[in-house]
């Protein structure tokens, strides 16, 4: 075995393959060396190891200097010590230096209690920050957007955000600029994020070890609406939220808390508690019909038809698309995202049904995503200045509201959603995981196209965590080729292939975040832990499997909505309310 290397770490023998770093080898024997910059999303091809923070230094026998374990490869016979007094002292000094240029407002920092820097300072036993006369902490202008806040005073230059923005998402909005004490991570020319190519996916936020990049907090606006007696406040919660909300209350990752979430929302005072899964089923009706329409036309020899159809649920993906592929604007499905479909149905159908005026109905969404905060402000999603979705909060903001309101989440009973916008099928649930929208679409499109009942509902070939997956589904003799991409860098590869005519599919699903919405920036931060994402995906697939109805077109309230209000999928009214169009935003890049 040529490529095996033996070494000892803290007197424990370890055998690793060549190319393994000391940091990874230590992990194999249960030694977690602290690090602030290092990040590895296993299986997703995401690694950040600039060797910048120097917290992970270790002593290597025969080497004069301490070595950064994250970027030092193992060698044969290496003797490594990770916890000698010299190492601990060095770590402490490095930490003190970082803290010497860091604001000390932990008590009111949005990352208080969830900050890796804070945790590590505690772990290393730092109890005092030495003051140096005249040494000022550097300060920069804050940058606020609908989705996230950039506070470079708190940046420790770990470069994780830069890795996510450039290497993973290929967005290229953030980069390190300037030099020495003035170096920060910023868009070009220190523009605001809103003016930069930022698509608001928030993956930079999801990996930031400190409070430098944080979500915009909209909980105050929700509490205000709830307290207003003139308003009727309804809420929708997205599929991926139920798979992660429990983590904020100490439950094992992957614990599904659908019933408790509905109960908690009711106790918070929402007048009606609905489910975005309902709107996901509605999306399938519209998008599935659109897909079949395009495939049908294509098979009939219509050469003007645009294939593949691209999914349009993910607002970060839509931003990315509008900036990078303005020549293909007629390619994505015109179907609005589930959040916006829900908003349109709530303000145009539910309001009448409830006897409430549009402007007195407040629609709140709970999303695993911070791009949704931006999405609901898009002008085309409002009528006379009144948005279809008024406020979008993240999973974690909901958790914080529940805590603020003194609700003992874990001991809540399971409750159901309200009707008519609370019923959903298993197809709506799996929207939260990569491949889920495609699987849901296939379940419905197959039955509509072939007129036959599907024998198996689990399309395992569409599931998984590989960045780009392709599959062919047999629609009773017609082969439908589909592709699924998550993370925008993968989407770019697929799109470039389609643009060049090298890749041919009937439909492509794109989700901006790793693992799909379950890895969104509105969720408890994944900070690079892919086992967390897998547990969340499992939880959604379990919930789907346990649902009595698993195909969107079987949702009785969807059937009723079409009968009572919309007519047919893609009808004129459906077009008006549930479909949208896209803009050329090439100028932003």
């Amino acid at each position: 075995m040529d490529n095996k290397i033996k070494l000892t770490i803290d007197n424990k023998p370890v055998e690793v393959t060549k190319g393994t770093t000391v940091w990874q080898a230590a992990r194999q024997v249960g030694i977690n060396i602290p690090a602030l910059c290092y990040m590895n999303l296993e299986n997703l091809g995401v690694e950040n190891r600039p060797g910048a923070c120097r917290i992970c230094v270790v002593e290597v026998e025969g080497r004069r200097n301490l070595a950064p374990s994250c970027s030092t490869d193992c060698t044969e016979g290496m003797v490594v010590k990770t916890n000698t007094p010299r190492v601990l002292n060095a770590r402490k000094t490095v930490m003190e230096l970082i803290l010497s240029d860091h604001p000390q407002d932990c008590l009111v920092c949005p990352s208080n209690g969830k900050c890796e820097l804070q945790d590590l300072a505690a772990t290393l036993g730092i109890r005092e920050i030495r003051k140096v006369d005249n040494a000022a902490v550097s300060t920069y202008r804050k940058d606020y957007s609908y989705s996230l806040k950039r506070d470079m005073d708190k940046c420790i230059l770990c470069r994780r955000c830069e890795s996510m923005c450039n290497d993973v998402q290929s967005v290229g909005a953030l980069g390190a600029i300037n030099r020495g004490f003035t170096s920060i991570v910023a868009p070009a020319f220190e523009q605001n994020l809103s003016d930069s190519p930022c698509v608001f996916c928030g993956q930079c936020v999801a990996v930031c070890p400190t409070g430098a990049l944080t979500r915009t907090d909209d909980t105050g606006r929700v509490f205000k609406a709830l307290a207003d007696p003139t308003k009727t406040v309804v809420v929708q919660a997205a599929p991926a939220v139920r798979a992660a909300l429990g983590e904020e209350f100490g439950l094992t990752p992957g614990t599904s808390v659908t019933g408790k979430m509905a109960a908690a929302l009711r106790r918070l005072g929402f007048d009606k508690v609905f489910d975005t899964d309902f709107a996901a089923d509605l999306t399938i009706m519209e998008e599935g019909t659109e897909l079949l329409g395009r495939i049908g036309a294509f098979l009939n020899g219509d050469t003007s038809v645009k294939l593949p159809l691209l999914t349009s649920c993910c607002p970060a993906w839509i931003n990315f698309f509008e900036q990078n592929y303005p020549d293909m604007l007629d390619q994505p499905s015109t179907a609005k995202s589930p959040q916006q479909m829900f908003g349109a149905v709530a303000k145009n159908y539910l309001a009448n049904k409830m006897g409430v005026k549009r402007e007195d109905l407040v629609v709140v969404s709970v999303m695993p995503c911070i791009a949704k905060k931006y999405e609901c402000t898009r002008k085309e999603f409002s009528k006379d200045g009144n948005p279809d979705v008024d406020i979008s909060i993240s999973t974690v903001e909901l958790a914080s509201m529940i805590k603020m309101a003194n609700i003992d989440f874990v001991s809540l009973p399971d409750e159901d959603f309200d009707q008519p916008l609370g019923e959903s099928t298993g197809a709506g649930v799996i929207f939260g995981a990569t491949g889920g929208v495609m699987e849901a679409a296939v379940r419905t499109a197959y039955e509509v196209f072939t007129g036959k009942t599907l024998e198996r509902l689990d399309f395992k070939e569409l599931r998984g965590f590989e960045g780009i997956r392709t599959a062919s589904v047999d629609f009773n003799g017609t082969t439908v080729n589909v592709c699924i991409a998550h993370q925008l860098g993968n989407a770019r590869k697929v799109m470039d292939g389609i643009r060049k005519g090298e890749l041919n599919f009937h439909a492509v699903e794109v989700m901006a975040c790793p693992g799909g919405c379950i890895g969104g920036a509105g969720q408890p931060y994944h900070k690079g832990d892919s086992s967390l994402l897998k547990a969340r995906a499992q939880s959604l697939y379990r919930e789907d499997a346990n649902k009595p109805l698993r195909k969107s077109h079987e949702n009785p309230y969807i059937v009723k909505l079409y009968e009572e209000f919309l007519g047919q999928p893609m009808s004129e009214l459906a077009h008006h309310l549930l479909h949208t169009h896209y803009f050329d935003k090439h100028h932003k890049i």
């Binding site: 450039n166 290229g172 980069g175 390190a176 600029i177 300037n178 030099r179 070009a188 020319f189 930069s196």
Partner: protein, 157 residues
């Protein structure tokens, strides 16, 4: 300050990038060459370079903002660079600098309203024996005192 690049200028940038096979690894050399053509690297020029190389403009700006050699403000026709290295400093460079500021009515990094002179500081031009040293364009002036500043500037009237 926004500027509009002419087609011929965009062509020039493209030619420079092409001559390096549009290789992002040559970014620094390309910027060097571009600055020698335009005199400075305004936002629009950086965007054009990024576009030609197929990289995010943040990466270009990251390099431009890192190296003090690159500048985003136009220099004067006669750029004045005053050495503030150790040798020049102890021999009174600061007083010379103050006199330049006074005579030109601009701060370090500034340009005179007529675009004639710009004033910058640097660290050592390798002529410490001549301290304090000033360069105007490519020409070096040594052993300067504040009283000689007027004379130096007069050469460029």
């Amino acid at each position: 300050m926004k500027i509009e690049l002419k087609d011929s200028q965009l062509r020039q940038i493209k030619d420079i990038c092409d001559s390096f096979n549009n290789d992002p690894g040559e970014l620094i050399t390309i910027l060097h060459r571009t600055q020698s053509v335009f005199g400075y690297l305004p936002e629009e020029v950086q965007r054009a370079v990024a576009h030609n190389l197929g990289i995010p403009v943040t990466r270009v700006y990251g390099v431009v903002s890192f190296y003090s050699f690159f500048t985003m403000t136009p220099k004067g026709k006669y750029p004045i660079s005053l050495c503030l290295g150790t040798a020049c400093y102890v021999r009174g460079a600061e007083d010379v600098l103050d006199e330049f500021k006074k005579q030109l009515g601009i701060e370090v990094g500034g340009v005179t309203p007529d675009g004639k002179f710009s004033l910058d500081c640097l660290r050592c031009v390798g002529a410490c024996g001549l301290a304090p040293v000033v360069m105007v364009g490519e020409k070096v002036y040594g052993r300067l005192s504040p009283s000689m500043v007027k004379e130096v500037l007069a050469e460029y009237e």
